[in-house]
Each structure stands twice: as C-alpha cells, then as structure tokens.
Amino acid sequence: MSEEKKSEPLFSKKNKALITNPLNSINPVTIQVLGICSALAVTVQMDNAIIMSLAVTAVLIIGNVIVSLMRNIIPSKIRIIVQLVIVAALVIIVDQVLKAYVYDVSKKLSVFVGLIITNCIIMGRLEAFALGNKSWASALDGLGNGIGYGLVLVVVAFFKEVFGSGTLTIPGLGKLTIIPEAIYDMGYMDNGLMLLPPSSLFIVGIYIWVQKARNPELIGE
C-alpha cells in the first residue's frame, strides 16, 4: 500500500484514509453498527465468512461507483428506490454468475447472497458516501468498508468455528482440525453455543471492548 501511495497520486493521504479508516476508527460493524445481521448469521464457518465478505465488497465497490456516477441525475425524491434497484440488480447478477461458474460456492452461500441486498452497509455507504463523492473515492470507500466488514466477520468466524467445532474451514485448503483429538479424549467438548447466532454478539461486544480500550479517542461522551 505504501509503495502505491508514493507513485500513484490516486492514493493521496485522503484517499488512503478512505481505506484504512473503516478498518478501525469508522469500522462499519463495530463503530457504525451496520451489517450486524450477517455478522451474526454467516460466521459459523470461516469459508462462508470469507466468501460473504468478498461478495459484499464486490457489490459495495460496484454499487458505490455506479451510484456515484449517477449522483447528479438521480431524482432526490426516489433516490433510495434507485439505490435499491441498483443493489438488487447487482446482487442478482452476482448470484447468477456464481450459479453458472462456481456452483458449489453459490450453494454454500444459498440465501445469504440474496441477503446482501438487505445488508445495511451497502445502503448506508451509498446514501452516506457515494451520493456526495466522486467515483474513485467511492470505489475506495467501498473497498475500505468491505475490508472492514470482512475483518470483523473473519475474527468472529475464527472464534466461533474454533470453539464451536474445533476446526477452521479455509477456502482452498478444506477443513483443518485445530483442536487435536487428544484434548477431546481428555474430556474437552465443543461449545454448542458458539454455533448459534447469539455468540456472535458476545464476540462482537468483546471486539468493540478491545478496540475501544486500544483507541481511547473512540469512546463517546
């Protein structure tokens, strides 16, 4: 990233912040509290979390760019509907392409691909950023928020899968056993609660705690 920053004027300090800020100080999940729903639902296995993050990031970047390009012609009265149509169309295209070319992935994500539409991050960023900024900045904002969302998802999925199933499912590597059989023989048991959505709330809560403890400036009045 730093190398690109020097040679590319496109990655000015301001633009770079568009990517790095969502990772921490304006993280979509932990600070803006957007996209919590899918953070609860698709984090039982690591591979679902990673693929979901990629899909959301792709839709977020493309959606941001399209809305940003159209920002001067979208009638303000129906702007939410226009955004919704753009996002819905993108999600359908992603879904169709996945079904045709990576059928297994599309089966794995099943309903969650469709649910990208309802992911608050996407509408939130379109409304808050893309409508008022140029397309390059919007693309970076989409990328940053997508990564920030993915970061939280991956952290949550890591703890849920390791403590819930004792495994880690990484795309391309398959299911890796993390907790060795010997520990189970000694009486250790997987925590069934970790497989259920409420455990994500605990983990996200602890994540926010750690994040704010390390960044005191994030603590509100």
Partner: protein, 271 residues
C-alpha cells in the same frame, strides 16, 4: 442543468428508463447463463444419485465426471405413483429426454413436495387415513427408482423430499438388492443454517445410514433421527445438536417416502 430534477415528470421518466434498462439487462444475463446453470444442476443430480449407491470409489466423484459415468451404473429408471403403480419405465439405452416429465430422472421431487404434497399434509394434519387417501388420489405425486448395477450387484437409489427448518431438504438413499438395507445416502438442502442444519450434507451424518434397515419382523419400520448421544438400534441415527428441526424434517421425509417404496418392493418382489 436546465432540467428540474425535482419535477414529477423527471422522476417518472427516470424511474421508467431505469426499470427498462435494469430489467432488460437482468433478463439478458439470466437467459444467457441458463444453459450453464442447468447443466450444473443436471450433473449434480447425477453425482448425487451415483454417490447414494454407497460405493467407496464414488466418494470422490466430481460433478463434471458424473454425466459420463451415469449410464454405466444406472441401468433402469422407473417412476411409480403413491399406489405403487409403474407410470414410466426406461432403461439406460433410452436417453433422458428433458421433455418427458415422467422419466424418473426428470421427476422434480422438491416441486412436487411443495405444490402437491405439502398442501395435503397441512390440510389433513394428524389424520393419517385422509392423508393416504389424498396422496393416492393425486396424479401429480411420483416416486423415482434408479436401478443400479455394479459388478453384478444390484442397488436401488430412491429419493425423498421434505421440509427442514427454513426450506426444502431432500435426499437420495441407496438400498442393497433386498430393498430394505441402506447402503448409502446423500442429503441436501436449500437453506438450512450453515454449520448447523447444513451438516446433513456432511459425510459423518450420511454415513450413519449405511447398514440401517427399514424392516422389523416383516413390517415397515421408519428410520428415526434421534437427539444426539442416545443408544441407537438398527433403525435410528444420531441427529445434529443445535439443528433439531432439520433432523425432524429429515426424519419426516424419510418416514413418509420410504414407506411407499417399501410397499412397492414388497408387492413386486420380482422387480
């Protein structure tokens, strides 16, 4: 810009143009990707049927290899109705015609379940006689049988469809030549919770069915999915913790569908 972007006319014209463009684009993409998607679905079905036979060499069968091997194993495709009457009987030499709706390979159990079976089940809840009468009367409910052969040994792959917690669950169950001992099974689902209900597609769950039987003392005995950790007899398998309702759905679909097949094989012992 001279155009007033807040006027109603602009808004309506914008919305109309946008809908036409987006609609046209989506229709174009959907129809151009459709053949690839359908080939995927067809190959997956063949893969599921072949894997359900329960042969070890099939475990790693890839989806795109299934099409070439399908006819080597599946020698006969038979469709029966709820009363046990044969409505279609094809051999491996007969190509699968996508337009022949009665060909066992083309029977869409999920669609039949949601359109015809489910309304009957919910209308006559708990009244078994009424359910049986209504199911027998329906001409739209079919049961495919895939008669497979491997090294002279005969297998039957049967199929079942029902409802899990969120959406459809379905499966292919392979029987040995006695038609009461399960040799293999493949389950799948549309939208069960990842990491919970979706575990029905994993090998440890499917492998439990191998060797279980659906007959006890000459009577039909359904396969039961129990809460995990109980002692199991020859007609019971472990369910999945945290996915009770998916287990109930699998249990219900097996009980309901396998009974029809059981009666059919009992009445057609020469089949």
């Amino acid at each position: 810009m001279a155009i007033n972007r807040d006027s109603n006319v602009y808004t309506i014209v914008f919305a109309t143009i946008m809908v036409v463009i987006v609609g046209g684009l989506l229709a174009f993409i959907a129809s151009s990707l459709k053949p690839t998607q359908q080939a995927n679905i067809k190959n997956e079905k063949m893969q599921n049927i072949l894997q359900a036979i329960g042969l070890d060499e099939m475990k790693e069968l890839q989806r795109d290899e299934a099409g070439a091997q399908f006819n080597d194993f599946v020698k006969r495709r038979v469709t029966i109705n709820y009363k046990g009457e044969i409505v279609s009987d094809k051999t491996a030499e007969d190509a699968i015609d996508p337009l022949d709706k009665l060909d066992a390979f083309n029977i869409n159990l999920r669609k039949e379940y949601s359109r015809f079976v489910k309304p009957i089940l919910s209308k006559n809840k708990g009244n078994k006689d009424a359910i049986v009468a209504a199911l027998s009367a329906s001409e739209n409910i079919h049961f495919p049988i895939f008669v497979c052969e491997n090294n002279g040994e005969k297998f039957y792959v049967l199929s079942a469809s029902g409802k899990g917690l969120w959406d459809d669950v379905w499966g292919y169950i392979g029987f040995k030549s006695d038609a009461i001992t399960i040799n293999g099974s493949v389950f799948d689902h549309k939208g069960e919770t990842p990491g919970l209900g979706s575990i029905i597609t994993e090998a440890w769950f499917e492998d439990q069915f191998k060797g279980k039987t659906i007959e006890e003392a000459g009577l039909y005995t359904p396969i039961k999915v129990l809460k995990p950790g109980k002692d199991l007899n020859n007609h019971q398998v472990d369910g999945i913790s945290g996915a009770t309702f998916t287990g109930v759905g699998v249990d219900e679909m097996l009980t309901r569908n396998l009974e029809v097949y059981y009666n059919f094989f009992k009445n057609n012992s020469e089949f």
